[in-house]
Symmetry: C2
Subunit: 250 residues, 2 copies
Amino acid sequence: MISTMPARPVLAGDAHLPLYRRLCITIAGRIADGHWRPGDMIPSETDLARIYDVAPGTVRKAIETLATDGLIERRHGRGTFVRRSNFDHYMTRFFLFRDASGSELDPESRILSRQVVSGPAPVVSALGLPDGSDLIHLVRHRYWEDAPRLLEDIYLPLHRFGPILTCDIEEIGPLLYPAYERLCGELVCFMEEEITIVPASAQDAAVLGLHSADLIVAIDRWAKDAARQPIEWRRSRGETGRFRYKVKVE
Amino acid sequence: MISTMPARPVLAGDAHLPLYRRLCITIAGRIADGHWRPGDMIPSETDLARIYDVAPGTVRKAIETLATDGLIERRHGRGTFVRRSNFDHYMTRFFLFRDASGSELDPESRILSRQVVSGPAPVVSALGLPDGSDLIHLVRHRYWEDAPRLLEDIYLPLHRFGPILTCDIEEIGPLLYPAYERLCGELVCFMEEEITIVPASAQDAAVLGLHSADLIVAIDRWAKDAARQPIEWRRSRGETGRFRYKVKVE
DNA sequence: GAGTGGTCTAGACCACGAG
DNA sequence: TCGTGGTCTAGACCACTCA
């Protein structure tokens, strides 16, 4: 008879990686595959140590790494939770819209069109998809003080975001990332952006109330899932006068 | 006779702070006061544990914190080193200047003026100094392809940067932060910046070869020492067409 | 080979939050 | 009061760098 050792539960990643790294990957995978959802509390450090048969200190290091990566959030005395992303508010950080008293105004969102396109090629490759992949293309305007101030073209891989195309448009609501999560189970965890200043197209200028070829700010964004795969590409355009960006370095 | 316990060496910070935090503050202080200079190797983890009479794990956590803060740098198998800042190159990341083959071009720096001013008031308060403090004001242009492309007004507190005013101007060289370190012993460790798009002054427009009131990019920067005290404020202006900025979020 | 940081373990006690 | 994360300790062994 072969004696069966109690097997260490499977940890993702190459066996030559440090244990804590493999635990990171495993936990991130559990979040990416929806086993633990945003807002959920994940097992306590002692439980994780027991479950995966590693020392508490190793769990601790893995959890700390994931927390600084922004995937989870630790709350002293309560537990460790999968982080809820709220990146959709993020863009408003670039643009100044305040009422008379100086407090920030929330924009209104209107999706003007929603259709399947194949391409454009630069977007397909920005999303790391094979040539000719189908995309969902959304055109959205965001309004402050009853005027469109931010114009957005948004592209999503059709095979992951079908419900965004087929759902009642009212279901999407003012914020896209919560809608991705609610309707498609897709979670935005990371972003990269590139900011440039370019002449406005005739159409953009007309909507923004500018002259054609006036300069506007363009913000290109790659939104990524927990595995850092890009799942959305968008280009947002707005007036330069409202633009302000703050950076902290190191 | 009173028995004297071997005293734990003085750790900076309130006694109620965690040990590792106090160790962080202590080490950062040693760097800020010039005891350990940029590029120096600091004592090994085991030595620090012995010196400050704490467990190696506690030293480890302090060192890790300082490393993610960017104050020091760990090199496996070699040691832990005070980080050399090289922020002066940083601005070129915002602006695209490439030769025909696409590789980045280094700018040439020219300091056009160097004088003591008292004020302006907004700058004095940006630097956290008392009203009426004396500042050094530098005007610097940075050249790419033999034309001034980036115009800078730089303000420094006189009492910390005297040598910048009195030294031979050739001694300053093309990069300011290494000069601050070499001539004044001042080390830039952190920065904050704010980017806006504004109409060019008549003078800036003339230098940049634009029309008056054409839009330009303005980057305001607060440079800070190891203790996060602001020690330099500058405003840099450049052409919008050359501007590009990349951000990674979380 | 000597010295450094990197990983992993094991366990004690503290501080916080909620019932 | 209980369970959580936060701090601190102590020590083993590995992996990298350099002389």
